[in-house]
Symmetry: C2
Subunit: 344 residues, 2 copies
């Protein structure tokens, strides 16, 4: 059962809200003992890649599209090149609504929007940058009675709170730290709101310290300076002007946490190391591990605390990048002896 | 929590068995109302693509690798090009064992074994066909004290029984029909054993009719004739000599079910139609929908029954095939008017 069925009392559902359900949520919380020993903490990974479309976006999208249907929208529309477009297309398909995805033209890799196309969305590339695509999406939503499901849609963050609920249910309470990638800064905001809401209803007894991790080339929450040219291998958090910057800063400050930035090569190493524990996550998902290592090196990671890392997306969305640093297929003669020479 | 924690009393666990856990299982069971109406049945999809490595193989592999560790194996080895190799590599990584994957040389697409490489397995291509690779794997297992985790490993099918347990838990009881893809015929055998075991322990009240679906070009269970040149777009079930043929035939017969074959184009259409409901599954996973449609056309699908289809693997493992029949990105001038012309 998806999150509307399991956590419906936390959402603004009415008797007329359709309960869309692709089985989002209920994602694994995996103990990472070897990496935890390295860092001196009790380490867990929340593997959001197990969601229906392979990312945490499904938690918010199921609510956003259900509410769009309740409000009589004819379709949904978003400006996105990545996980948001896949999720919007899938839930629109599930609810029988049309879905339109707008993206900036120029270097449009079909692979980035492959999922949206396969789920049946109309994908259009428009001249101009991302902001122009979003502007057109707003105008078209107005004109056609569509609902915008970009992160400006208030139901997106509401649904994403469910990630925090599940962590409390899986561990019995909130962890000491939550370590999470930060791009648009929506998810860190949603998790904080989720932990607070769960404690207020006495379904947990405390809230965690929120630690937000960004890539060095796209870290406006760390520097305090927005940028127009963010650059990082972690495309899901390649964002220079986070929409939720103010709320996220407030949330992290209240929690006693901080934002930290890590280098791309540390992110890629973390991706490989997580895979070597059996969890294949997209690069953005691996910033928390890279960040915790940095804190441990600098003596800023308290020993023995319980830390949950949110692994936001599935590595299968891009196998090419990690494959470059993985091993190759070894070609062998047909004999046990040549085989013995190469296997561990 | 993974299947060893949730269904441990059904498995041969001892106090010395490590409880490996990547959060396998707990996969969504999704109601498919529109497709169900088309077919005149109460239709559900069990989305096994939400498993940690993206396929149902994780259910058996977690038990096989845990038992290998208990028995003191130094590593695991398998002959495989697909989902099995990904799953073996991930659970070996999780348990800290080495993993070796053997495959027949010649047309070795790196993409097919990308996951295994990323999870850190040693992948070797050996001269000869698949049977020769398996033979070498057995010999090497003997020589090195490795455990074979191909489907000859008895723990694989034991673990896969958990799929049946979950369906009963999710629906409250077994469905009328279980519709499942058949390649090596292991999963259909495991599901049947799972339904029977669950009923014997009174955790369900009945067992389903088992309907096994194959591709026309690789349907030895339908024709009764093994073949050396199976051919189908559904690579995960492109198997001419199913290892579990006899047990599967017996299981399906006992259940009152049957095997049926469907054409590749019907499989691809089913893949697209499932995506248009928000579920992106690999082609093999879509044979049950294609098969149910065939039965409905021929008047052999009882009306109003509850049918669960097992969607065995995640569509993200190969986006190229469905992308060919999906739409394209439309390039637009920057104006609301041109946009209005293309969106639904």
């Amino acid at each position: 059962m998806g999150i509307l069925g399991r956590y419906g009392d936390f959402f603004p559902l009415t008797p007329r809200t359709p309960r869309l359900d692709l089985g989002e949520g209920s994602t694994p919380l995996v103990p990472l003992r070897a990496l935890g020993e390295e860092l001196g903490v009790d380490l867990w990974g929340k593997f959001e890649g197990a969601n229906p479309t392979g990312s945490f976006k499904d938690r918010g999208m199921v609510l956003a599209v259900s509410k769009a249907m309740e409000e009589g929208a004819r379709g949904v529309i978003c400006a996105s090149t990545g996980n948001t477009s896949a999720s919007a297309a899938a839930y629109a398909a599930c609810g029988g609504l049309s879905c339109t995805v707008l993206l900036p033209s120029g270097n449009v890799a079909k692979g980035k929007v492959a999922q949206a196309l396969i789920y049946g969305a109309t994908v259009a590339a428009v001249r101009g940058n991302f902001d122009r695509a979003l502007e057109l999406a707003r105008a078209m939503a107005e004109r056609r009675g569509y609902r915008i499901v970009n992160s400006v849609n208030p139901f997106r963050l509401r649904g994403q709170m469910s990630g925090a609920f599940e962590i409390c249910d899986q561990l019995g309470d909130a962890p000491d730290w939550l370590a999470i990638p930060v791009g648009n800064a929506g998810n860190v905001t949603a998790y904080w709101a989720g932990f607070v809401a769960y404690m207020r209803r006495r379904r947990s007894s405390r809230v965690p310290v929120m630690m937000g991790f960004q890539a060095q080339g796209a870290c406006p929450m760390v520097t305090g300076q927005f940028t127009d040219h963010p650059e990082t291998v972690a495309t899901a958090i390649r964002i220079g002007r986070p929409v939720n910057a103010r709320r996220a800063r407030w949330a992290v400050m209240m929690s006693g946490g901080a934002f930290e930035a890590v280098e791309d090569r540390e992110i890629l190493r973390a991706q490989m190391d997580l895979a070597r524990c059996g969890l294949f996550a997209e690069p953005a998902s691996c910033t928390p591990l890279a960040g915790l290592r940095k804190l441990a090196r600098e003596g800023r990671l308290p020993r023995g605390i319980r830390v949950v890392m949110v692994l936001t997306g599935n590595g299968l969305k891009d196998v090419e990048t990690p494959l470059r640093s993985a091993g190759s297929v070894v070609e062998l003669e047909d004999s046990l002896e040549t085989l013995e020479g190469v296997i561990p």
